[in-house]
C-alpha cells in the first residue's frame, strides 16, 4: 500500500494550483467565498475559461476531446478548483448529456453537440422529473408522437434546474404506451427556443430561482434529435446513474466549506463559543476524512481499470448528508449572525450572512439525483442478496 500521491501527481497539483491562482476571476472567487451561488454570467464565464484549456470535459475520453487525465489527476484538479474558490461546473452538459452522446449518439449528433459542451458554450438542462414521476421516473407521461420528420411533444416537466438559462434540454419522453413502462421511453434533445415550450419559475426556500416547470404544447422536435433508438431512453438514463462516481461525494467542496467556517471562528463572541465550534468542526473533519479515503479507493480502482466496488456505494449518501451537516453547523455556529435574511450589511462575519440560505437549499441534496431513500433501495437490491 502507498497512500501518498506520486511525484508526478504532486507536480500536476502544483501546476493546477498556479493556474487557478492566476485565472479564477475575482468576482467569482468572492461570490463563492460569500457562500452564494454564481449567476448565469459567472457560471458561463468560468466554464468557458475551463473550456478554453480543454479542462471542462476532463472526465471525457481523449478521443472525444478529454485531456487524458487519470482519475487521480481529475480528483486533484477538483480539489484545487474548489480550494481556489471556483464553483463546480454544471453537470448537465459535461457529466450527463455529453457522455450519453459519445456513447449512444450518431456521428452527426456528436459533431453537432459535443464541441459546444466542450467549450462551455451550450448550456443544457435535464428534463426527467414530472409532477407524478419523481422517484418513480419510469411512470413519466410527457408524450412524443412521431409525425413525419419530427416528433410532437406534449406534457410537463418539473424541477428542471437552470431551464431558464439553458439553450437545450435532454428529455425523457414516452414514445410508446403499449409496451412495458420502461421500454416505451425515448431520449430526445430539445431546443429551448422551440415554439410551444414554456418555462415557469419555481422559487426554492433559499429565496432564489434555480428550478422551473417546463410545459410542452405541440413542441416540434426534429427526428434527428432522437438519441439511440426509440425505446432506449431508460437504458440511457440508467447508464448515467452508474457513470463517473469519482467526484460525486463532493469531498472537495465540503473541504472548502469547512475551511470557510474555520476562518470565521475568530468572530465568535467568547473563548468558550470558539472552543465548542472548533470541536464541532473537528467532528465534521473526521467524518470527511472517512469519506475522502473511501473516495480515494474508488479513484485508485478507476485508475486500475477496475469497476466500482461496494466501497463506492455510499459516496452519494454520505456526501450529501455531510454537506447538509456542514451547512447546518455553519448556521448554528453563526447563531445570531445567521438570522438576518436580506440585510445589506452583514452582521459580523460575512460568511454567516448567506449561511442560512445555503442551509435551506442544501435540504434538497438528499432529494435530487435520486433521493437517499431510493439510493438505499437500489443498494439493498444490488449488495445484500436478501
Amino acid at each position: 500500500m502507498n497512500l501518498d500521491f506520486s511525484n508526478d501527481e504532486k507536480e500536476f497539483r502544483k501546476s493546477i494550483r498556479q493556474w487557478m491562482k492566476e485565472n479564477v476571476p475575482d468576482d467569482i472567487r468572492r461570490c463563492t467565498a460569500r457562500g452564494a451561488m454564481p449567476d448565469k454570467n459567472m457560471q458561463q464565464r468560468w466554464e468557458r475559461l475551463l473550456g478554453s484549456q480543454g479542462w471542462l470535459t476532463s472526465t471525457w475520453p481523449e478521443q472525444f476531446g478529454g485531456p487524458g487525465w487519470s482519475a487521480t489527476q481529475r480528483y486533484i484538479f477538483d480539489q484545487e478548483r474548489a480550494s481556489a474558490g471556483a464553483p463546480p461546473t454544471s453537470p448537465f452538459g459535461v457529466a450527463m448529456v455529453g457522455p450519453v452522446l459519445y456513447t449512444f449518439g450518431s456521428e452527426a449528433q456528436k459533431e453537432r453537440w459535443l464541441p459546444g459542451i466542450q467549450r462551455g458554450e451550450t448550456l443544457w438542462c435535464q428534463g426527467y422529473s414530472e409532477p407524478n414521476a419523481g422517484s418513480d421516473l419510469a411512470s413519466l407521461k410527457t408524450r412524443a408522437t412521431r409525425n413525419g420528420d419530427h416528433y410532437l411533444v406534449n406534457g410537463q416537466k418539473i424541477w428542471t434546474t437552470q431551464a431558464h438559462w439553458a439553450d437545450m434540454m435532454f428529455c425523457l419522453v414516452r414514445t410508446d404506451s403499449t409496451v412495458k413502462q420502461q421500454q416505451g421511453i425515448s431520449f430526445l434533445l430539445i431546443d429551448m427556443k422551440t415554439p410551444g415550450l414554456e418555462v415557469r419559475p419555481i422559487y426554492s426556500i433559499d429565496g432564489h430561482h434555480h428550478l422551473n416547470e417546463v410545459y410542452f404544447t405541440d413542441v416540434k422536435v426534429p427526428v434527428e434529435n432522437l438519441v439511440g433508438q426509440e425505446g432506449m431512453g431508460w437504458t440511457i438514463a440508467k447508464f448515467l446513474l452508474t457513470h463517473e462516481r469519482t467526484t460525486i461525494a463532493g469531498v472537495a467542496d465540503i473541504h472548502y466549506e469547512i475551511n470557510r467556517l474555520k476562518s470565521a471562528i475568530d468572530a465568535l463572541p467568547t473563548e468558550t463559543d470558539k472552543q465548542l465550534a472548533v470541536r464541532r468542526l473537528a467532528g465534521l473533519e473526521v467524518d470527511l476524512m472517512a469519506l475522502e479515503y473511501t473516495n480515494f479507493r474508488t479513484v485508485a480502482a478507476t485508475d486500475e481499470g477496475k469497476p466500482f466496488g461496494p466501497e463506492s456505494s455510499g459516496l452519494k449518501i454520505k456526501g450529501t448528508e455531510l454537506q447538509q451537516r456542514v451547512s447546518q453547523a455553519m448556521v448554528e455556529i453563526g447563531g445570531l449572525m445567521s438570522l438576518p435574511w436580506d440585510n445589506e450589511e452583514p452582521i459580523g462575519e460575512q460568511i454567516f450572512n448567506q449561511a442560512s440560505r445555503r442551509y435551506n437549499f442544501l435540504r434538497a441534496c438528499t432529494i435530487y439525483g435520486g433521493s437517499n431513500e431510493i439510493q438505499k433501495n437500489v443498494l439493498a437490491k444490488m449488495l445484500l442478496g436478501l
Binding site: 422529473s129 407524478n132 419523481g134 422517484s135 418513480d136 411512470s139 418539473i158 424541477w159 419555481i202 422559487y203 426554492s204 426556500i205 429565496g207 428550478l211 468572530a267 465568535l268 463572541p269 467568547t270 468558550t272 463559543d273 465548542l276 465550534a277 464541532r280 448556521v331 448554528e332 447563531g335 445570531l336 449572525m337 445567521s338 438570522l339 438576518p340 435574511w341 436580506d342 440585510n343 445589506e344 450589511e345 452582521i347 459580523g348 442560512s356 442551509y359 435551506n360 437549499f361 435540504r363 434538497a364 438528499t366 432529494i367 435530487y368 433521493s371 437517499n372 431513500e373 438505499k376
Partner: protein
C-alpha cells in the same frame, strides 16, 4: 403530579386556534412576509380585544394575571399558523422585561404596552456578546450610550427600544427612542422584521435608565428564561403542523403505483416523528411551568434543557418533513419549508444548542452546591 391543563389555559388555546383559523392563513402569511410593516391594524386590534395584551402580566401591574403556560398556549398556535403578527416582539418580550424590572418608570411604560399605545422592542443582543445577555457590548459612560445592537425584533414598527448596556461592570437597562440611533431594518430567517441599531454617544437622561446592577441582571435573566420557553412553544406548534401535513402527504402521494406511506422506511420516519413530538410536548409542559419558577437555578436548568432538546429534535422533525415531501418540500409555495425556517430560527434565537448545553452544565453544578 398532574399534567391536566387548567381549564382556563385550554380555553385560551382553543380561542387562539379558532381566532387564527378564521383570521390568518398561509396566504396572509405570504402577504405579510412581503411587507416591511408587520403590524396589521385589524388583527392587532383583534388580539387586543381578545385580551392578549394584558394576559402575560400580573394583575398587580395592570395585567390579567396569565401564567407562562397560558402565554405558551397562544404562542404555540401562532407558531402553528406561521403567524408573523409581532405579539411576542412588541407585547410579551418588552412587557415582561418591564415587569421584571419593576420600577415606577418601567411599570408606567408597561401600562402603555398593555393598552396598545406603545411600540417598544427589546434590544438585548449584539453580535459581540452573542447569547451572553448579561454582558452586552453596549457601553454606558456617564450619560453617553455607545455601541451596537443587532437582531432587534420589532415587527418593523417599533419607535422605542429597551437596551441593555454595561456601565462599568454593572448591567443597566435603558429605554430610548429609535430616533436616537442609526437604524438598519431587515427581514430575519423566519420572515419577521428586525433592526440593527448603532448608537454613537447618545445622550440619555436619568429617567431613561430603568434599572441597574443586580436588579437589571435578575430582570434580564428572568426575561431570557421566559423567552426561551416561548421559543419552545412556537417550535412545538410548528412541528405539530409539519407532522400532520407530512402524515397526510404520505397518505396521498403516490409513486410506484402506491402511496409513499406504504413504504416501510417512510413509516419508520413518521413513527420517529410521532415519538419525538410526544417528547417535545413533554418538554414544553415542563418548561411552561418551570420556566417561571421562583427557584432561579431550577428555572435556568429547565429552559436550558428544553432549548437544547428542541434545537435537536424540533429541527429534526422539520428536516424530515421536507425529505418526505421530496422536491415540493423545498419550494416557497409549500408551507413545510417555511416551518423549517421558523423552527431553525427559533432554535437560534435566545441561545443555540451549544449555549444551552453549557448553561445546563452550569445549572447542574450550582444545584449540587445547594444540595
Amino acid at each position: 403530579m398532574d399534567f391536566k391543563l387548567p381549564e382556563n389555559t385550554t380555553m385560551i388555546a382553543d380561542t387562539a386556534r379558532r381566532y387564527l383559523k378564521d383570521n390568518y392563513s398561509f396566504d396572509s402569511y405570504i402577504a405579510q412576509l412581503n411587507e416591511s410593516n408587520h403590524l396589521e391594524a385589524n388583527r392587532w386590534q383583534a388580539m387586543n380585544d381578545l385580551g392578549w395584551f394584558g394576559l402575560p402580566f400580573a394583575e398587580s401591574v395592570g395585567g390579567y394575571g396569565g401564567s407562562l403556560l397560558d402565554v405558551c398556549a397562544i404562542v404555540q398556535e401562532l407558531g402553528a399558523a406561521l403567524c408573523l403578527d409581532p405579539f411576542v416582539d412588541l407585547i410579551v418580550s418588552p412587557g415582561k422585561l418591564l415587569e421584571f424590572a419593576n420600577t415606577p418608570t418601567s411599570l408606567a411604560l408597561l401600562d402603555r404596552i398593555i393598552s396598545g399605545e406603545a411600540r417598544v422592542a427589546c434590544g438585548l443582543y449584539d453580535r459581540h456578546a452573542g447569547y451572553h445577555v448579561l454582558n452586552p457590548s453596549l457601553r454606558l459612560n456617564g450619560e453617553r450610550l455607545s455601541g451596537q445592537k443587532h437582531v432587534v425584533s420589532d415587527g418593523g414598527v417599533a419607535d422605542a427600544v429597551l437596551v441593555s448596556a454595561m456601565s462599568g461592570d454593572e448591567l443597566a437597562i435603558v429605554a430610548l427612542p429609535f430616533d436616537a440611533c442609526d437604524v438598519e431594518r431587515y427581514r430575519l430567517l423566519d420572515g419577521s422584521r428586525a433592526a440593527s441599531l448603532t448608537l454613537d454617544d447618545v445622550l440619555i437622561t436619568d429617567e431613561m435608565v430603568l434599572c441597574r446592577g443586580d436588579a437589571a441582571k435578575q430582570a434580564v435573566s428572568a426575561w431570557f428564561d421566559y423567552l426561551c420557553a416561548l421559543d419552545c412553544a412556537r417550535m412545538y406548534g410548528a412541528c405539530r403542523e409539519v407532522y400532520q401535513a407530512t402524515l397526510e402527504y404520505a397518505r396521498t402521494r403516490k409513486q410506484f403505483g402506491t402511496t409513499i406511506g406504504s413504504f416501510q422506511v417512510i413509516q419508520h420516519y413518521l413513527v420517529d416523528a410521532f415519538i419525538d413530538l410526544q417528547q417535545l410536548e413533554s418538554m414544553l409542559l415542563m418548561v411552561s411551568v418551570k420556566g417561571e419558577s421562583a427557584n432561579v437555578c431550577e428555572r435556568g436548568r429547565a429552559t436550558a434543557a428544553a432549548k437544547a432538546y428542541y434545537a435537536n429534535r424540533a429541527v429534526g422533525i422539520t428536516q424530515q418533513g421536507i425529505q418526505i415531501h421530496g422536491g415540493v418540500g423545498v419550494t416557497e409555495e409549500l408551507n413545510i419549508g417555511h416551518y423549517f425556517r421558523l423552527v431553525t430560527h427559533a432554535s437560534l434565537s435566545h441561545g443555540d444548542r451549544e449555549h444551552h448545553m453549557s448553561r445546563f452544565i452550569q445549572a447542574g453544578e450550582k444545584q449540587n452546591e445547594v444540595v
